[in-house]
Amino acid sequence: MNQIIGFLLVPFLTALVQALLNGHPRAERAIGLVSTVALAVWSFVVLAQVDANGIQVSMMGGHAAPYGISLVADRLSCIMLCLSTSVGAVALAYSLSTVTPAQEKYFFHPLFQIALLGVNWSFLTGDLFNLFVAYEVMLIGSYGVMMVGASREQVRQTLMYVAVNLVGGTLFVAGLALVYATTGTLNMADLARYTAGLEGERAAVVTTASMVLMLVFALKSAVFPVFFWLPDSYPVVPAGVNGFFAGLMTKVGVYSLLRVFVMTFRQDGNEVVTQTLLILSGFTMILGVLGAVCQWDIRRILSWHVISQVGYMVMGVGLTANPALARMATAGTVFYIVHHIIVKSSLFLLGDLAEHVTGRRGLKQMGGTLVLAPIVAAMFFVSAVSLAGMPPFSGFLSKLLLVRAGLAGENWIIVAIAIATGFLTITSMMKIWSYAFWGSPQEAPGPRSIAGMVAPASVLVAATIVLGVWAEPMLRLADATAVDLIEPRAYIQAVLGEAASLPGVAP
């Protein structure tokens, strides 16, 4: 089955064509929008196929795994692809209203497609080194999008973002070297097969090597203590695309944690890694939300919220340390990732809309969005309440699943932190609400058409409502995904062939 490579080829070819068409912004826009929307539709088709018929694998260059590079579309990959392509399409549609001609001239559209390519690639790859390459492609695209137009502030923040990610990339290769030296393979299916049932000294060495990778993924997903780069970086990303960044980029790190530490590394002692993650997630949640409470800029508040929300997802990964909870916690994490990507992107878009409507930036100067654009206020309210975890929206269910898993494992402290973080989230959302939405407008802004921006954002708001009130299909899918990850028999057989020995059986 070679159709899954389309998720890499389509953004790549789109970027090339757009780069050639530079100077014809209309054509670039049309091509970008058509290809991204088509990809989004296709991703749902593939998800349905994979859900019904099983995993699809594509071996690059025809070399057999574990020596060649395999692209694997299982349930988790497909869910993530659906999110990346559809949120990408929404963010792109939104940014068409805000992007400046100068930014378009400096290759905004191709760079966005490259970032999308990298994100899709990290979700599809079945090989750890290939994951590194996908990360770098995604990062190079994101450096470009972040700097496009090259204002002083943008370049200054990008410098730090690049420096942090360079160190992260270097550590990634170092971790891969250690894993390769101890296991002799970097293919995820092969690693899962090899590490299952591994015990004693050898298992301890593998665990130590995998800890380096944990640090890299933690850096990418902005987990305490390596989250410092995020709140300075995301506010300078052009409006619209920052929704895509906030929603997807850190979640690539969370996805990697889930894929690598729940599915791939199965040796005796892997729970040391997940327990470390559980402890770090507590700090991440509480420090992230405290950071948000003391900010005075919508974008910075929302950026700090990304950190605290990542804490919830990492908590789900951490709870898998207890085998009895693994299924519940993994399903909860998958559901939370889906919820978070949708809601976080929509909040970034709506926060930008509020700045756009009031014509100001900075909470103390804003005010009166409720009067000027009630529809924006209503949509922001729904998203903010969903983020904080109120029923009937998706945030309530996703938090419920994780808290239930935490309670079942009697992890009282982490559950207490998770609930306290929910309340503090409301506090900081109240701050945005009372400063930016209540109050009277500072001066009458000129009439602006915001329909082109409201429409994309409303898709995401509708998604969080649907996901909250009609959650059954997604819950079933999340549960099936969790079973796939915990018992990756099908994954290993799909990649290595039917004859491959099963996990639990010593190789």
């Binding site: 590194f132 770098e136 002083r152 410098l159 690049v162 070297a177 390769y180």
Partner: protein, 118 residues
């Protein structure tokens, strides 16, 4: 792993880390270069390289004994290309920052965020 290789990797890591932590943009680029080379050598070492091991070129499959694993050099080749590209990008960003702010000390750059914050 041969001892000289281990010493070289250690020195590259130490030098790279030291340079990265200097408050100087050009040193950061140099530090990144050293660090990435250290990591590349580490990858070679992971493939079981020793002075005695031969290059992995074989005519028939029976002759593979005593050769080094061909996959790590492959990986290193990819990593070199990526690090070269990203290093060049990093250097050009450093130059633009220097041009914009007239300093090569990252600690002297204006604080992050915009004036409405705080």
């Amino acid at each position: 792993v041969e001892l000289p290789l281990a010493i070289v990797i250690g020195m590259l890591f130490a030098g790279g880390t030291y340079c990265l932590l200097r408050p100087n943009l050009v040193r950061m680029v140099i530090g990144f270069g050293l660090l990435s080379n250290g990591v590349n050598l580490m990858m070679i070492a992971a493939g079981g390289y020793s002075i005695a091991s031969g290059a992995p070129f074989v005519k028939d499959a029976a002759e593979t004994a005593g050769l080094m694993d061909p996959l790590p050099p492959d990986i290193v080749l990819t990593a070199i290309v990526i690090n070269f590209a990203v290093g060049a990008l990093f250097l050009s960003i450093c130059y633009v920052v220097y041009r914009d702010h007239d300093t090569d000390d990252p600690e002297k750059l204006p604080p992050a965020g915009f004036e409405g914050n705080g």
